[in-house]
Symmetry: C2
Subunit: 175 residues, 2 copies
DNA sequence: GTCAGGGCTGACCGATCGGTCAGCTACGGT
DNA sequence: ACCGTAGCTGACCGATCGGTCAGCCCTGAC
């Protein structure tokens, strides 16, 4: 039942946003009462927290892996890792990108800015040039939006083209 | 005063989202009463509508320009036009991307899906291949997110690098 | 002086929000 | 047979939401 609630909440949050989804909406979708939600979870924020913990941990882990890499290795690992993470958590990505500014108060998401900073740093190949920073941001946003939008292509095609497209954006020679 | 209200609303909508901003918030920011807002505007939706009319028209105009182009001309015009539009309306872009799913009901934004479709078609060089469609979506998202995020670079640097990055993403030979 | 009307406001409204609480049901342990 | 408890619910709460309304203030026309 907890799992059922989380699934319903994930779908609704991704579709209408966190603030755009009421506890009643989730209860109806999950087929239970609003009071039942608050028996299983401390509150609306707790539901969001539980949904976003896993992707946040994944991002945090990726940033740690990237921290010890440099140059081409860092770029390739960053692209592959980020694309994989974004595809695995595409609904969560949609939630985060839609209402990021307000959510950074949540302790679970506190790690995101630094992790994304490390990701951008790796994507930029440790370069401080404005050109590289803009390009890195383009990759981060492009992958996220593409994954969140429902483009009608096979998953492996999507993954392959996201990686290739990101490497092209970064001006990284494709093997 | 109307202008002042619109400026305040634009800033707040971009920062906290449409649903995340109350009429009271706007009134405080604008330095007037909530009732005064509703004297100048028919309602909260009317404020949003007025804010998004101009970028919607710009996007619509761009899509009409693109419709008569093909091949490389279409790609280059699409990239330049979209980057220019996104930079000019970067706050509005942030609003739209944050809560797009719910907003498409508004008549003002009804033109957006088709216009974006045309834009994606031009960016893809009129190709139907999944590869080109994914790439086009990456450009649309990458430019929007980058423009909406506050990357600390000069405006002309940003514009140049966005165009160059987009063309690289599309695999378009740079002149 | 006075009157009309645009700009603006405080007080108020119904609806909906997130959250609380007492109590119901079903069931496993003893 | 009895009880404790986990799962769940309807009824209710205060806060806040978008929106309404009667009326105040100020200014320009006459």
């Amino acid at each position: 039942m907890r799992r059922h609630i989380l699934d319903s909440a994930l779908r609704l949050f991704a579709e209408h946003g966190f603030k755009g989804t009421s506890l009643n909406d989730i209860a109806v979708e999950a087929g239970c009462s609003k009071a039942s939600l608050l028996y299983h979870f401390a509150g609306k924020d707790a539901i969001l927290t539980e949904l976003l913990t896993s992707p946040a941990e994944g991002l945090s882990a990726l940033s740690q892996e990237l921290a010890v890499l440099d140059g081409d290795q860092a770029v390739e690992a960053a692209v592959a890792g980020y694309v994989g993470l974004a595809m695995r958590f595409h609904l969560e990505v949609k939630i985060i990108f839609a209402e990021l500014p307000d959510m950074l108060g949540h302790p679970v998401l506190a790690v995101i800015p630094e992790a994304v900073g490390e990701l951008a740093d790796a994507l930029a190949g440790r370069s401080e040039e404005p050109r590289a920073r803009v390009t890195a941001q383009m990759v981060i946003g492009g992958v996220a939006v593409t994954v969140a939008s429902e483009v009608d292509v096979a998953r492996d095609t999507m993954r392959t083209e996201l990686v290739r497209g990101a490497l092209r954006t970064l001006g990284h020679p494709t093997s």
